[in-house]
């Protein structure tokens, strides 16, 4: 009986040893990152000092380490869209913000992105959106990329929609988009085509202004 008990206790010791190692690894990654100075950021973006302060306080409170990785980003974004699956779109959004492509968003990236979206010129915003759609960063949006984006957006809606989502709805959406944007019908949309097409759409221009007061 004692031997049995002994072997049980030895087994548990092994388990704890393994978890200790994992903890060590975690600690090594908890390096905190500090952003550039406030003046520099103010110069680079279109925000005032107070706005930057408010933004940074919120950012630092949520991510004390100073960086956001993709998992956290997906998690946060999923909180806003609980009905469906926001992880795919969050992935593309993360890539759009992560201009340096190193897998994490620092405060500067965050603020730059926001500055473009909220305080930038129309052209800036459209460029940003183009980069969001252009998944592989080759300068062209082709049908597959667009379909991916559209499907990701529809995923966020979830299952319970009215009218019910049918399988070919994303495809139709993509077709409409390409009809509008692809002027020379070569199957891809370039940045210029995109910008021109959007500027011609008055409704879109009006809608863009609506988002200026978010911050």
């Amino acid at each position: 009986m004692g031997m049995v008990l002994g072997t049980f206790s030895m087994h548990t010791k092994q388990v704890t040893y393994r978890t200790d190692k994992v903890d060590d690894e975690l600690e090594m990654t908890m390096v905190s990152h500090r952003p550039e100075g406030l003046e520099q950021l103010e110069a680079q973006t279109n925000f005032t000092k107070q706005e930057l302060q408010v933004l940074y306080r919120g950012f630092k409170n949520e991510c004390p380490s100073g960086v956001v990785n993709e998992e956290t980003f997906k998690h946060i974004y999923a909180q806003f869209f609980p009905h469906g699956d926001a992880s795919t779109y969050a992935h593309y959004l993360f890539n759009a913000f992560d201009t340096r492509n190193n897998g994490s968003i620092k405060f500067e990236d965050f603020v730059m992105g926001l500055s473009t979206l909220l305080r930038g010129t129309v052209r800036d915003k459209l460029e940003w959106t183009f980069h969001l759609y252009d998944i592989n960063r080759d300068g062209f949006i082709n049908r597959e990329e667009m379909t991916e984006i559209v499907r990701a957006i529809y995923d966020m809606m979830g299952k319970y929609t009215y009218p019910a989502l049918k399988g070919d709805v994303p495809k139709q959406h993509v077709d409409t988009f390409f009809e509008k944007m692809d002027k020379n019908k070569d199957g891809v949309v370039t940045l210029e085509e995109f910008v021109i097409a959007c500027q011609e759409d008055e409704n879109m221009m009006r809608s863009m202004q609506l988002f200026e007061n978010v911050m």
């Binding site: 107070q50 946060i76 959406h173 409409t176 879109m204 609506l210 007061n213 911050m215």
Partner: protein, 631 residues
């Protein structure tokens, strides 16, 4: 939604620009936020300790007090800060919740105080972080158990019976709580005595007595003095049967009573006798009958009604059922293993005792519990080795669950002690409340005597000035009540006089009271001379329950009365009057809490509370005039 996410909302909304090219329809207009964009620092003053925080921080949780517009109610324009008259130490934790998103429970604080603070600030306790959740839950459960026990204990035995209780209810009360009446106590002791007699008789029955003349064999006393033992047995069984039937009659729920453990024990204790009476003197059946007599020993369990300790022990065993079960299971496992091993180890030996595995069970049990009778011993070396391993492990296995059982027992025992302490404290508290209530009455009566409800000349005004505005208002309120009901407050002596001379239902004359409404000075004189009686609907008296009944009427408001009475008692002592008599107690302790409780007004339907108080006042033991009414 997790609160910290509120920080990211502007970002998510900004990212919505990415949907614009794809949008099939126009975007809706965004909500207009009228508040200023700039973040500002808010000042929060909690009982003098000033906290500062960003407005944004508080806005993170909009469904709490600090995060919503409810805090505007606490805004002080002069000092430009939010003032809360609460515990500043606790507020630190509340504010940290806003800052970090995690609520921590401070271990040194009382769980109830913490819960109250959370309730005030509108924070749900479920968001306590994992680090503190276990501690919080444990203490909360402990506290709830304690409260449940206390209310249960109060409600169970000490509550006074309403006067309309039937004889059945009274009988049941007498059985459950023997010290309520002398008869019950007598019965309690008589049954205890007879249980003891019965058990002793059972034991002595089997002792060998000197044999009858002419016979050499020693007889057990039971067979020598058959008649004597039979008479004793009959007497005991009669008492037990009578008791059981009485309990059955008095029980509020007969089915539940019959299923309870004590009643089953009662039945098992007396059944053998009746079966023995009924059964014929048959050889075959008498063997079974002898077995049945074993059940008579169960009478000893009837003692558990008489002994608190036995009940605790029984309760402990019940609550440790899982540990005991584990002990049994592990023992069984070990026994089987070792018995098998020993059997096969000793199989070769000639003339061995280990004839089969079940036969080895006996050896294993005796060895594991370190009894070691020695009737079975291993002879082979392997058998001896395994035998020693068996005895060593036996000690371990038995020692494991014992601390758990012991700690359970200790906890239950302490709970019981606590119940007794609580009862003692209750008595003290009730005595204090009684004195305070008397004070209120006397104050009011004296107030009326002096015609206090209108301002007089300076002499009596001296007396009046010493009363606080609170007392003035309180007395005015009682006065209004008198006017409303058209009856007056009076004291016990006068009332009992009235009752003796006249029948119940004496009405006061109305003219004086009506005239006093116009504030005439003549109103006080009639009152001083003639004390009117309050008409009572039911005025039965029960003597011995006076002090305890107060518990009944006030126990619902016990918690609120408790701490308020203490603090206001301290505050009031400086209010003693200069030249007024000392019988005029500091009043108004009970006046604070819940209004609907105990109006003396008999135009209301007589609730159980009212006669309770009335009865109590009648039985109070001091010579001061005791008031009948109270608030």
């Amino acid at each position: 939604m997790a609160a910290g996410v509120a920080t990211w909302l502007p970002f998510a909304r900004a990212a919505a620009v990415g949907w614009l090219p794809l949008a099939k329809k126009n975007m809706p207009k965004p909500p207009v936020d009228k508040k200023s964009r700039n973040d500002e620092i808010l000042f929060v003053n909690v009982s003098g300790l000033r906290f500062q925080t960003w407005k944004n921080t508080l806005d993170r949780y909009p469904d709490t007090l600090l995060g919503s517009s409810e805090k505007e109610f606490f805004y002080n324009e002069d000092t430009q800060e939010y003032f809360f008259d609460r515990d500043p130490e606790m507020f630190r934790h509340i504010l940290n919740f806003y800052r970090t998103g995690k609520l921590h429970y401070p271990r040194q604080e009382c769980i109830q105080a913490f819960d109250e603070e959370l309730a005030f600030y509108g924070i749900v306790p479920d968001i306590i972080g994992d680090c503190c959740m276990e501690e919080y839950r444990d203490r909360k459960k402990e506290n709830q158990e304690r409260l449940a026990e206390d209310t249960e204990a109060e409600m169970a035995t000490d509550t006074p019976l309403p006067p309309e209780s039937t004889s059945r209810e009274r009988l049941w009360r007498a059985f459950e709580n023997p010290h309520t009446s002398t008869m019950a106590l007598v019965f309690y002791y008589v049954t205890g005595f007879f249980i003891a007699v019965s058990v002793i008789a059972n034991v002595v029955e089997t002792v060998p007595c000197r044999p009858l003349k002419g016979s050499k064999k020693d007889l057990p006393c039971g067979e020598k003095y058959t008649l004597a033992f039979f008479c004793m047995d009959t007497a005991c069984v009669l008492i037990f049967t009578f008791e059981y039937l009485m309990r059955l009659f008095a029980a509020p729920s007969r089915c539940k009573f019959m299923r309870s453990v004590m009643s089953v024990i009662d039945v098992v204790a007396i059944m053998p006798y009746y079966i023995g009476l009924v059964m014929p003197e048959n050889e075959d059946v008498s063997g079974a009958f002898v077995t049945l007599r074993v059940f008579r020993v169960f009478r000893i369990f009837k003692f558990s009604r008489h002994s608190q300790g036995l009940r605790i022990l029984g309760y402990t065993l019940k609550s440790c059922a899982s540990e005991l079960g584990f002990l049994l299971f592990s023992l069984t496992m070990a026994i089987i293993i070792f018995a098998t091993v020993m059997f096969y180890a000793e199989k070769g030996t000639k003339g061995t005792n280990f004839t089969s595995i079940p036969a080895s069970f006996w050896y294993t049990i005796v060895t594991m519990t370190t009894l070691g009778y020695g009737d079975m011993v291993p002879n082979t070396i392997a058998g001896k080795i395994f035998g020693s391993i068996c005895s060593l492990s036996g000690v371990l296995v038995i020692a494991l669950p014992v601390p758990v059982i012991v700690s359970n027992f200790s906890r239950i025992y302490h709970q019981n002690q606590r119940a007794d302490k609580m009862r003692a404290q209750q008595k003290v508290r009730q005595a204090r409340i009684r004195m305070a209530k008397k004070g209120t009455t006397n104050a009011f009566l004296q107030y009326k005597e002096e015609g206090g409800f209108q301002f007089r000349d300076n002499d009596s005004a001296l007396c009046l000035k010493n009363r606080s505005s609170f007392e003035h208002q309180h007395h005015h309120l009682l006065h209004c009540l008198e006017k409303t009901t058209n009856h007056e407050f009076t004291d016990e002596l006068t009332f009992s006089e009235m009752c003796m001379t006249e029948s119940v239902g004496y009405r006061t004359s109305r003219s004086t009271s009506i005239s006093s409404q116009q504030g005439l000075s003549t109103s006080c004189c009639p009152r001083r001379s003639k004390r009117r009686a309050i008409r009572l609907a039911n005025s039965t008296v029960s003597v011995s329950r006076g002090s305890v009944q107060e518990l009944d009427t006030l126990q619902v408001h016990k918690t609120s009365i408790g701490h308020q009475s203490r603090s206001s008692l301290n505050a009031r002592t400086e209010d003693l009057k200069l030249n007024c008599e000392d019988r005029d107690f500091t009043a108004a302790i009970i006046s604070i809490p819940t209004p609907p409780a105990n109006t003396p007004d008999e135009s209301l339907p007589p609730s159980p509370a009212i006669p309770g108080i009335l009865r109590n006042s009648r039985c109070s033991f001091t010579h001061e005039r005791v008031k009948i009414s109270s608030l």
